[in-house]
Amino acid sequence: MRGRFALALWLFGVAACAVLVAHMRLQTDMAAFLPRAAPMAQQALTDQVNNGAASHLILLSVDGAPAPVLAALSRDLAARLRREPAFIDVVNGDDESFAGVRQFVWNNRYLLSPDVTARHFTVAGLHAALENDLGLLGTDMGGLIQPSLPSDPTGALLTLMGQLAPGQGPKLVDGVWIAQDGAMLLVHTAAPGFDIDAQQRDLALIGAAFDQARAAVPGAAAARLRETGPGVFAVRIRDTTKSDVTRLSMLATVGAVGLLLFAYRSPRVLLLGLLPVASGALAAIAAVSLRFGFVHGVTLGFGVTLIGESVDYAIYLFTQTVPGEPAGVTLARIWPTLRLGAATSVVGFSAMLFSSFVGFAQLGLFSITGLIAAACVTRFVLPALVPRGFSAPGSGVLARPLLAVIAHRSWLRLVVAGAVLAGAAALVLHRGGLWDGDLANLSPIPPADQALDQTLRRDLGVPDLRYFVVFRDGGEEQALEASEALAPILQDLVGAGALAGFDVPSATLPSARTQMRRQAALPDDAVLRARFAEAAAGLPFRSGTFDPFFPDVAKARAAPLLTVASLPPALQLRLQSCWCKDADGWTVLAPLHGVTNPAGVATAVARLPGVQFVDLNHESDALLRTFQRDATRLAVFGSFAILVVLLVGLRSSRRVLVVAAPCAAAVIVTAALLTLDGKLSIFMVVGFLLIIAVGSNYCLFFERPEHDAAPRRRAVAAIVLANLCTVSAYGLMSFSHIPVLHDIGKTVAIGTFLSLFFGAVLSTRDAPA
């Protein structure tokens, strides 16, 4: 009766969770893995990385042919891409690349130029401008300014071109950008970098356009296209993850199914074994979704790994069933041990609930809920479903090697002690720190791709952004006015040699107030003509030369003010790259180039209220340190909590020692082995927690007082089977190209195997073997 009630309750629970899971909101941006109280700068930087202008950029390089062929290819490719609506802007250095910006700046020069002040339009100001023009005409640059001179005698454009110059781009060969690594193109996609489906389509479009261009340009058959950028990375990572996860999980499934079929010789029992973990995962997703309102992609992938030990619950039950004994009886016998094993893992993982990273907290709740649900399903649902008279006929063979180890455990203890001492010594004597401080090594982007990105950015003259000035403001106009207040301070710093250059939003779009002030500085047509005639008197300019100047000024006086929407795409991109909008306002991130005196810049900008100087390297180091501190604290707290639970469950400090010692030994030796070829990553800390969670279960079963040889053999067989499944699954994971999967897989595979061995040697009771 009770079994049937439990079954009904379980079915109801599964249905309820399924409904919740169907409505969950999956989130994949990395903000959840930032500390909750992240400072403004870090928050803004992740926003910028996820949604900012930079995420819309794809960098292309074409190489593998002589320069003239590459130039022709670049032109042909750019022409094809410019026809695609998926691309807002395609820049390859040719005239068309900048035509839009040039036209815009020319048309709006009187609203954009800082030289438009009342003083410049007095008789004296105009006279000085004309004398300057005369000087310029005499120089070698005279030919360059001559076409624009009649419409722009005050040189509004010239100042602007200096200010809006795209920086040191690659060299032009045959009129397009050619750098050391080939022809360079910059593509601005309509879709943001995180829209992976759109980015994948865009990359396919680029690939197809390149193939057509290569076919159309003679001599280009051997040319090669390479691409990089945030969107490209996102697509590649998804591809790698997909292929890694598909391939490895298929292999892992085949391995586990093979092992379990060998042990159980019953497909039905094999499937039953999945019930606890599947129910646990379902309940866990539902709980996280309820508590946080969303489930992070990492939580989903990772969480299932964390509750992987619940696969063992079924193994413990099935393998220890005595022939002829109902599964319920077996379960009643092993339940106290199983319960204590699950409880240790639950408290171990619960440490994560208190993490300052939302992502960790989600993982904590996920694993706790998942394990409790899985344990309950094992206890109350599974026994009723196991076929009568089932026992695991194949498990005896599996137990044999470990039984041999147990038989020789008195002298093997010395081996274990030696290994632990050596491991501890290696860790203590390890030079240069145990922890990997390089964030790049945690990145799922392969080193070769990172290197290509660096090279192309350098070729394109895209500076490595490290320093920013950051501030927040309520509205667009306020942010523009604030950046206008900041600009002269930064300009002074450039003059003093503290930095080479900077970008602020107001350099692209002046505030409405400034634009209105410039309009007000322009005299009306009659006044301007009179002043100009007076100013030009005595200078050798032919009369009528400046006729186009007057209507342009008159038009500018009445022109509507410029807004973000009136900017051409390239300038919109430039503007978006130095600010971003969120629910409460605007965060301005003004990039600084060539900073030589960071402390001086920090002091100077701090004079403005609410303005911060940010060193990106420093920020990401700080983030990594918080991550490490958090992870270590979690591991220490978790281990302590596990000891307390063991003490409560076993009621003997000696027994606790016997159970805990092999786990600690396994962690020490694993860590020492991992440092043999590199440093420890923060992902490995999660692996250590898993070793303790899974390993403590083994030790609890080894430590169980079993007075007969037969149940002892079955218990050992259960542990071995569970361990073989774990080692094969995590061992396969260590072949993944994604650092997080690789690191955890390797750690857990080594650590759980060592736990098995150490547990057999150290935890097994000396009562009849």
């Binding site: 005369l134 070698d140 009649p150 032919r542």
Partner: protein, 164 residues
């Protein structure tokens, strides 16, 4: 041309008269020219405004009003084309000259004249033709005309004899 190719270095003073559509009187500038074979030259203007123009291989450095502007020859078709013409003449490199211009040579060794017309349509927008006159291995005048009718005459006066 072969004679010019022998010249390893030269120094000269120059006077340049520019006639422009926007001006009703010509502008006059003067300064010095230096040349070192095969591809280095400097034009330093001393009056009316000091400025300098240095060509070193493929790189051009312009300095005027305290501002320095560095770029590669390939970047600016106007200066690139112009410079290549003068340099190829100085170096006596007919092949290089023929690549950029159609070349017409007339006169004798003591009184020769080279007329260069750009082959590239983009370049003709800026330079309609160049006319270089000289005797023996000396260059005496360089005249430049642009498409809009602007015109510059530069007379060159070698101060130190050619080093061979």
């Amino acid at each position: 041309m072969a004679g010019l190719a022998q010249v390893k270095s030269a120094n000269a003073s120059f006077t340049e008269r520019k006639t422009m559509a926007v001006l009703n009187a010509p502008l006059v500038a003067s300064g010095t020219l230096e040349y070192r074979a095969p591809d280095w030259m400097r034009k330093s203007t001393t009056s009316p405004m000091p400025e300098s123009f240095v060509l070193d291989g493929q790189q051009v450095t312009m300095m005027a009003e305290g501002q320095t502007h560095v770029f590669a020859l390939g970047e600016d078709p106007l200066i690139g084309g112009l410079t290549e013409g003068i340099l190829a003449t100085l170096a006596g490199n007919l092949a290089a000259l023929n690549r950029v211009y159609t070349v017409r040579f007339s006169g004798g060794p003591t009184d020769w004249q080279l007329v260069l017309r750009p082959r590239d349509a983009g370049l003709t927008r800026f330079v309609a033709w160049l006319c270089i006159r000289g005797s023996e291995t000396r260059i005496n005048t360089i005249d430049t005309a642009s498409a809009n009718g602007d015109h510059s005459e530069m007379s060159v006066n070698e101060t130190i004899g050619n080093a061979r």
